[in-house]
Amino acid sequence: MTIQNTWGWLVAVYLFLGGLGAGAFVAVAVISLATGERFKSTVRFGAWASAIAIGVGTLCLLIDVGKPLRALVLFRSFVHFGSWMTIGAWLLFGAILFDGLFALFWTEPVLQWVGARWKFPVEQRKAFRVILAVLGIFINLGVAVYTGVLLGAPQFRPFWHTWWLPALFTASALDTGVGLVTGYATLGERSEKAYALRNVLEGCIIVLILIEASVLYLYLSHMLKASPDAVRSAELLTSGALRVPFWLVVVGLGLAVPLIVCVTQLGGLLRKRAAVVVPLIGLVSCLIGGWTLRYLVLSAGLPQMLASPALEQILQGVKFIP
């Protein structure tokens, strides 16, 4: 049995962090647009988390390529706009910029410092926040979708070459991002209405997990009926060499545990007794599941078999599991 390892765990970290950051930004941007300054510490946390997550994810991509310094000079290296990777590189650059700016506009000491030194209209921060939030939602959704499109573009990897993949990664991005923001709202938000915010967010996570589980089911059942190469890939996850991490970590830790945690939290069953530990378990479990999903989908991306198994064996990047 073979797995794909030309793109390994570092690329999986990027796919995960890119999605996590994008999801967290969308969550706090919506919260800020809907509630203004009521939950400013949650919004500030989410904004910084998204900028840092996408930044670190991009760093992982840079470390993974052979010539990181050359790749860093975006305007000289990423010039072929017919390639999805070029579009993605500029999207990531835009997201880091927008998420970072949005975070700065929610960090009062920084605003005061800037306002004191330059004649910057600090008092118009509300308008800037709204503009950055609205534009940022589009850019960050673009980043979330792009993580799937990057893998989906090459035609000869049938397990990746489908629109189900961006759909799955986007659902997971929103799920993990909202999860991270909920984690902060539970542990760090001091607003009187924090309780209401948590309830709304936990409701959102339940819906997102159900969407993600449905997309995952539809994606795999579609692949199990597609070309023989797609079937080989899908079977790696459902019944092959990767079945244990898939069922235990992706489905168990990534979907089932957070779902149970959110339902029990929302039901108020455990709220009084374990208000911190249980949501934390749900969050960590959801994040581990999110990364593992990316790693396993990467590993299962086998090439289309062309002439014979022998021809496939010479394709580099395929290692043999004894």
């Binding site: 030309t6 793109w7 070029t86 062309l306 014979s308 021809l311 010479i314």
Partner: protein, 173 residues
């Protein structure tokens, strides 16, 4: 029609001696244990007692519609209009490996940047054949324009390698 260089591989002549692989590595000065721009593979078919072994020498197919070129983010991969050779500009490649995933034959190989056959452009400029073709002891490998190769192949039962990217390679068996 513009010129398109290609390879013609006569499978029944190949004896899997790896001379082409070695000649390629020697001419290109490739370190041992790294990449192979040309590779000889063995395909077994049939069942005992009617088992058949076929040997195929493979390099970049210099496709008419290169999938690698389409996905390259930096524009490092290009198809030369004058002779159809697909080349990697080593000063532009960032080594992201996206072309490896795009190529239906998994041809581009990673060694900090992406490496693949350039049909020995330096030898072509001197009027010589690529190192692999010049070395092949059984004359299983041919090099030329696709028109020239088609003429040679007409006498045999040769076929152009299939694929949506239109590889510039003929194979006879």
């Amino acid at each position: 029609m513009k010129r398109q260089y290609g390879f013609y591989v006569e499978l029944e002549r190949c004896i899997k001696c790896w001379s082409c692989e070695v000649a390629c590595k020697a001419w290109k000065g490739i370190d041992a244990g790294t990449v192979s721009l040309r590779r000889v593979i063995e395909i077994t078919s049939g069942e005992f007692p009617a088992v058949k072994r076929t040997f195929l020498s493979m390099s970049c197919m210099h496709c008419e519609k290169p999938a690698c070129e389409a996905v390259c983010p930096t524009g490092a991969i290009s198809k030369r209009p004058e002779d159809g050779v697909v080349v990697v500009d080593q000063t532009k490649c960032i080594g992201c490996r996206y072309c490896f995933f795009a190529c239906p034959f998994g041809v581009p190989q990673y060694d900090k940047t992406m490496q693949k056959c350039d049909m020995c452009l330096d030898r072509l400029a001197e009027g010589k054949e690529p190192a692999c073709v010049a070395t092949c002891p059984t004359r299983a490998l041919h090099f030329g324009t696709m028109e020239e190769l088609s003429k040679i192949a007409q006498e045999k039962v040769a076929k152009r390698l299939a694929g949506s990217t239109q590889p510039s390679v003929l194979v006879s068996k």
